[in-house]
Amino acid sequence: MKRIVVKNLNKKFTLDHKKRAGALAKIVGVFSRSEESKRLLTVAEDVSFEVEQGEIIGIIGHNGSGKSTLLRLISEIYEKDSGDIETNGKLIYLNGYGQGLQPRLTMRENIYLMGALMGLSQNDVKKRFDEIVEFSGLSNFVDAKAYKFSSGMVTRLNFSVTMHCVKHHNPEILLLDEIFSGGGDIEFFDKSTKLVENLVQGGATVILVSHDLGLIEKYSERVIWLENGKIREQGSAEKVLSAYKNQ
């Protein structure tokens, strides 16, 4: 079963948006006939690929090659210009942990807020609450405000909430943008890496975007190499990675 089918996908961004954004510029723009040429940046050009059920594929490429944009197009955060994108199954896109942590709220309030942002009802968060707190190892700080936390503690909280919400959704498609382990100290690093590893290898279809070629090599069967929004090469991880390293 094909989980993701991308066919002839194209996307361009308009640059210099801000310069033309003032009210006066808009009004002048309506009356002046000279059509100022827009500068466009191609972020996806004729991109086509398919991902099967349970497959783990890696996407590599330099900064600005269109990796994150491609994931955002698949997850419908960005609108495509043309082409087809078809996804079958519950999809989750992650580009970091802990969207929406509010330093002035307590850990408890933050868990409920972040859970809601990740699409969980208050009841669902309630059911997962103890699990989230336990995994983070911060059970003594549940009613402390997050601004008092060290950066390591914030990392633990963010990771724990995000990953338990992802687990709750039990996604069939997982798009991971430059994330894998939760960071933090060695103990938490290992624990969090194991959790992501279980999730990635748990049967979901996964697209991994990373600059860490070791990570890509370890988990992906197939790799897509993007350059200026175009697929430069795709195929077995071994073949594409060695071409990428020897360019």
């Binding site: 896109y93 992650l94 969207q99 509010q102 709220l105 309030e109 807020l113 809601a116 699409g119």
Partner: protein
């Protein structure tokens, strides 16, 4: 995402922001009341010190209702203009129904409006007026909130395309404050009255005062305009927001 989960998420965000606004402040929720109350006292004081002003029956209530309504509108539009930009982080990283950001600021303002309604009720008690007036006020307020929600959806979209809209609104809202009969009364036949016929807030404010303070039904045509304006505003706002929301993530 279903409508109930959109509303529940909007409620969660509004609740968090409401807590954040009151956190660490001894006066807490009273801040919501201090702003309209201080303006109310100043305007009342000025009026009491100017000779020859036209008498207005139950002026303190007339003024208070005018102030809370125009404040509700002006402050909400101000927040709506930047609400999408302010949530850029989420919008770029989570597939989330973007309406929730607009709904949540409206809900947050409604929470704080509850305190203003309590204040209005206290005034009603103090002036020995029937509290049923406050209930009638709430009916008008529901239509007013729908109207404001529509304008918020529109402003949130425009705010992304017109970068100086916030500055424009700062000036426009001041003009609106003085041109709407918030602290004075307008009479049919005057230029100000004619101008106000194009001002939607005028209809809601007049209707709210009529039913709450003076115990009279507003004219039928006024009720008609009020209903039409609420529905039209909501439909236009929702249409424009929906039409452009797919591009928001690129613009923030």
């Amino acid at each position: 995402m279903k409508i109930d989960s959109v509303l529940s998420l909007s409620y969660s965000i509004a609740k968090a922001n409401f807590k954040l606004r009151n956190e660490g402040s001894y006066l807490g929720i009273f801040w919501y009341l201090l702003s309209p109350l201080s303006l109310f006292l100043i305007l009342l004081f000025i009026r009491g010190n100017i000779s020859g002003v036209e008498p207005i029956e139950h002026y303190p209530l007339y003024l208070l209702i005018g102030l809370v309504m125009i404040n509700f509108f002006s402050q909400l539009i101000h927040s709506a203009i930047s609400v999408i930009q302010n949530n850029a982080g989420f919008i770029k990283s989570i597939k989330i129904p973007l309406e929730v950001f607009v709904f949540s600021i409206v809900l947050q303002s409604i929470f704080s409006h509850i305190f203003e309604v309590v204040l209005i009720a206290l005034f009603f008690i103090y002036f020995n007026m029937s509290l049923i007036g406050v209930l009638f006020y709430l009916i008008v307020f529901v239509f007013f909130a729908v109207f404001v929600l529509g304008v918020c959806l529109l402003s949130a979209t425009l705010g992304l395309y017109v970068s100086d809209l916030g500055n424009i609104w700062t000036i426009a809202s001041q003009l609106l404050f003085f041109l709407t009969p918030t602290f004075y009364v307008v009479h049919p036949g005057t230029h100000l009255y004619l101008g106000n016929l194009f001002n939607p807030i005028f209809y809601f404010m007049t209707a709210a005062r009529d039913v709450a303070i003076y115990g009279t039904m507003p004219a039928w045509w006024m009720i008609g305009v009020m209903l039409a304006v609420s529905i039209l505003s909501f439909c236009v706002g929702a249409f424009v927001f929906n039409r452009y929301k797919g591009r928001f993530a690129e613009l923030v």
